[in-house]
Symmetry: C2
Subunit: 71 residues, 2 copies
């Protein structure tokens, strides 16, 4: 089983931004897949178990962007 969550992330403008967010969020324990979409302002995260939103927010913040909530 896996869990998919979609988050709103502001500030991403290009593929480099998507890559920065993807790298940070991918490093979280239990994360299987990450898809960042600058145009849509979203990050989709597939994980083995539900993630703490604060952990995802911290990873996004580390990349230099802001997680504003769940879609």
């Amino acid at each position: 089983m896996s869990v998919t969550a979609v988050y709103n992330v502001t500030g991403m403008t290009c593929g480099h931004c998507e890559k920065a967010v993807t790298e940070e969020v991918s490093a979280l324990p239990g994360v299987a897949e990450v898809k960042a979409d600058a145009a849509g302002g979203t990050v989709t995260v597939v994980s083995e178990n539900p993630l703490e939103e604060d952990a995802v927010r911290a990873a996004v913040d580390e990349a230099g962007y802001e997680l504003t909530g769940r879609v």
Copy 2:
């Protein structure tokens, strides 16, 4: 002595873009300093001698952006 040239570059949207352009242009022979400005759409290049614009254009293209001319 050194030569400073400013080029118009389209497509840069963020600091990651500036970094990508800076890295490619900095690798050109004779380049001493590069400053990419996404907001202004410019790249300023300081070199020991005048550069061939085609060489700078190729480096910018390699980074994924387009040099459209001299300022």
